[in-house]
């Protein structure tokens, strides 16, 4: 005890709670503080979110107004859009890069990079990550990966155009697409990004296992941290599979190996297996943290404990586990053995169970609550309602015979956007608006926030809900010009309508950006705990100082003790000692909570 205490004291002296001035470069650029790294990920991902949105807008232009010049786009190079008219090869690049950028450079770094970094040390009561320098490296590896991805637009042949799934052999040789260097840059970029994700995952897992504050037992962790923990495990195990596959594809492209090239004996279907063995866990990497964020925001804004906390944790684990044995549901029509298809259908259907548990428990959390409909809550609620839609539409595709008709149609496009936009992105908005005061010490503007929410929610549904119906009419995805098919021509007014709504959807995001920037400088000062929350991050100043906690926090109870009869207020912070005459002393409280007191 005495040696470790000496070490603690020595460390205190070194870093302590005090904010010492650091040179600009160390403070803002090459910073090892998890909160700064979180903010770096935030700004990087918001930039890519904007890029991804603009790419989508160009796609929607072509879909709504096929082969008409994009307004104000006369300056586009002739290899992309001569006179503003999108070329088929550029359209394929748009499809590919929109998906890739949104998934790998916007949603994933927002959920894992931003919230993982921001929340994990703060919510478990740690001064920082276990490996702060590795953490810094994780961000600075992601940046060149992003630059490589962007640069591919400007090389000869243009950016990758084989879809974000880059199915071989289309992606395995430039002779099929005319894209050589662009596809290679795509591969290298994702390989590099993999190292960034890996560094983050090792850090998160180690930190959560070993650096929890006294009393922070596993079942007192906030669900955000639980979700991020399981997500980090998925990243750790799934990314290396992708990396291996990307490297093999890169070899096919560059030195002419034949892993996925059938003309020399390779197996294109092997790419699909590897890609989706990674890809389905990746889907959960993109949704589990969103579920955690939603849970935290719902409980706080409904001033109620999470309904079925243990079931929620088990559901996260079950989803992550089942996520490894369902990848074949992306390949029902690829020519796989029908019996294998059946087993993938059954395992996929089984995921509906933990998903339903989560949904019903969210409803249970709201039930008998005291619901405050402020901006983070509105976004969290739309996560729940949109996730219901995305989850239900998933049942159609999980069903192998029905999938035969809707596979690779706009029904899938609708489904993935209900999960990744309606799901992940709304939860991201909920998270950003909820933790903005913690990150920057100021509140975001409530009124503008509500206008942004309402417009986004309406326009989002106008854009994506009818895509289900387009899919049911048989409209294929990744189609440069749907009017080429006579039977799709009646759908064109709807495509046009969706495109106009999509332009609106992109535009109203500038409300969010404006609110964000305005609030950074002009927002109301937040104080340490504006949401009257229980979790540890709200027990420290906003933004928290270097080293986070002034003294090691001690945790006495679970994260969701809202409206507890024994507490005077409707919240009861995890680190607030119980009143001496009622509760046990801290020595006793360090052991797990007794039965009946709750998690």
């Amino acid at each position: 005890m005495s040696t470790s205490e000496a070490a603690v004291q020595a460390h205190l002296h070194e870093h302590g709670g005090h904010d010492h001035e650091e040179p600009f470069l160390r403070k803002y650029i090459f910073c090892t503080d998890h909160k700064m790294i979180a903010r770096q990920f935030l700004f990087m991902s918001l930039f890519f979110l904007l890029v991804g949105g603009l790419l989508a807008a160009m796609m929607r232009w072509q879909l709504g107004f096929p082969s008409q010049p994009m307004p104000g786009a006369g300056g586009f190079p002739d290899t992309m859009a001569p006179g503003g008219i999108v070329l088929p090869e550029f359209y394929n690049s748009l499809v590919t890069m929109h998906g890739t950028i949104m998934i790998f450079f916007a949603i994933m770094p927002l959920l894992v990079g931003l919230f993982g970094n921001l929340l994990i040390p703060l919510q478990i009561g740690a001064p920082d990550m276990a490996f702060p320098r590795l953490n810094m490296a994780s961000f600075w590896i992601a940046v060149p990966a992003g630059l490589l991805m962007l640069s591919s637009f400007f090389v000869e042949g243009g950016a990758a155009g084989a879809g974000w799934t880059s199915y071989a052999p289309l992606s395995a040789s430039g002779e099929w697409t005319g894209v050589y260097l662009g596809q290679q840059l795509w591969l290298v970029s994702l390989i590099v990004l993999g190292f960034s994700s890996l560094a983050g995952a090792v850090n998160y897992i180690t930190t959560i296992i070993s650096m929890r504050a006294p009393g922070m037992t596993w079942f007192r962790l906030p669900l955000s941290t639980w979700a991020l923990f399981i997500t980090a495990i998925l990243v750790l195990l799934a990314i290396p599979i992708l990396t291996g596959a990307l490297i093999m594809l890169l070899f096919d492209q560059t030195i002419g190996t034949g892993f996925f090239r059938p003309e020399v004996g390779g197996e294109p279907i092997l790419w699909q297996h590897l890609f989706w063995f990674f890809g389905h866990p990746e889907v959960y990497i993109l949704i589990l943290p969103a579920m955690g964020i939603t849970s935290d925001v719902l409980a706080n804004r409904a001033r109620k404990p999470i309904f079925g906390y243990h079931a929620m944790v088990l559901a996260i684990i079950a989803i992550a586990f089942l996520g490894w044995i369902v990848w074949g549901h992306h390949m029902f029509q690829s020519g796989m053995n029908p019996l294998l298809g059946t087993s993938f259908m059954i395992s996929t259907m089984a995921i509906a169970v933990p998903s339903a548990i989560k949904t019903f428990n969210w409803l249970g959390t709201l039930w008998h609550g005291d619901i405050h409909l402020d901006v983070p809550m509105l976004h969290a609620l739309s996560f729940v309602s949109m996730f219901i839609i995305g989850g239900l539409s998933g049942i159609f595709m999980a069903n192998t015979p029905v999938d035969m008709y809707i596979h690779d149609t706009y029904f899938i496009v609708a489904h993935i956007h209900y999960v990744l936009f309606g799901g992940s992105l709304f939860a991201i908005f909920a998270g950003i608006t909820f933790w903005f005061p913690k990150m920057f010490g100021r509140m975001m503007h409530e009124g503008v926030g509500k206008v942004h929410f309402v417009l986004t929610f309406i326009l989002y549904n106008i854009v994506f809900f009818p895509m289900h119906n387009l899919g049911l009419r048989g409209m294929m995805r990744r189609l440069y010009d749907p009017t080429q098919y006579e039977y799709l021509q009646p759908l064109q007014p709807m495509n046009e309508f969706i495109s106009i709504a999509a332009f609106g959807l992109v535009t109203v995001q500038f409300l969010f950006a404006g609110n964000f920037v305005w609030s950074l400088f002009r927002g109301r000062t937040a104080g340490p705990n504006p949401w009257k929350s229980n979790t540890l991050e709200w027990s420290v100043p906003s933004p928290p100082p270097h080293g986070n906690f002034d003294g090691m926090p001690v945790v006495y109870r679970g994260p969701y003790e809202y409206s507890h009869p024994d507490a005077a207020e409707d919240y009861w912070p995890q680190n607030q000692p119980p009143p001496p005459e009622v509760g046990p002393g801290p020595e006793v409280a360090l052991s797990p909570a007794p039965e009946g007191v709750g998690p």
Binding site: E89, L170, T177, W367, D370, I395, Y405, Y480, P599
Partner: protein, 224 residues
């Protein structure tokens, strides 16, 4: 608006009916769940919205309730899965006997159909090939040997509810039986390059009695 319908367009293959029936079963189940859950959500939001002096109940969960919805969900989805296996195996595995056989070879960006010719056998001298045109008789199973010369394509007959990827280096068996003479679209459903959007063919279903006439005419045309 017809475009916004959740009803499927009419199907013209024997198993199309089975697939559509499954779709409607799922549509009903998910529709009911959708209305109930979203309705409940909205009701809760209104009923328990913040009021001055309101304090939330301190509830940590309800074991029985949680068990019930877990079990009910599990039974429904697994029942659905089991109920679908029959149709799935019928569609993807059980090729009916006596099918007419053709070879469909996909390549960027066209569908080449090889017919067995008058002798009804593939791989003989009287085979002939037509571009982007698949002509079959009505009310007779058709077995397609699906191939690709370059990249992956996907053979999509929306009106017949058929979809199957064409893999280079493999020959995959797809079958269907059209239920009504007419012309239908053949689309490519898998991104296959910059001309993916115009990789389009036509399926013509002839009345069984007229099919031999068509075959003679097509053969004469092929010989020229």
């Amino acid at each position: 608006m017809d475009v916004l319908s959740w009803l499927l367009p009419e199907s013209f293959s024997t198993f199309g009916r089975d697939i559509d029936r499954l779709y409607y079963v799922i549509l009903w189940i998910t529709g009911v769940v959708f209305v109930l859950t979203e309705g409940l959500l909205v009701w809760i939001l209104v009923r328990y919205r913040h009021r001055e002096g309101r304090r939330a109940a301190h509830i940590h969960g309800h074991r029985t309730l949680e068990m019930v919805w877990t079990t009910v969900t599990g039974v429904i989805v697994l029942g659905l899965a089991v109920a679908s296996t029959g149709v799935w195996h019928h569609v993807k595995r059980d090729v009916p006997a006596g099918a007419m056989e053709v070879i469909v070879t996909a390549k960027q960006y066209e569908w080449n159909v090889t017919y067995p010719g008058p002798d009804g056998l593939l791989g003989t001298d009287d085979d002939f090939t037509r571009r982007n045109a698949l002509d079959v008789p009505d009310a007779r199973p058709v077995l397609v040997h699906l191939r690709s010369e370059d990249v992956i394509h996907s053979f999509f007959l929306p009106e017949l509810r058929v979809k199957q990827d064409a893999l280079p280096g493999k020959s995959i068996r797809v079958w269907f039986e059209a239920t009504r003479p007419g012309t239908y679209v053949i689309g490519c459903a898998e991104l296959c390059g910059l001309g993916h959007y115009r990789m389009q063919g036509q399926l013509t279903v002839h009345a069984a009695a007229d099919y031999q006439d068509w075959m003679q005419a097509a053969l004469a045309e092929a010989d020229q």
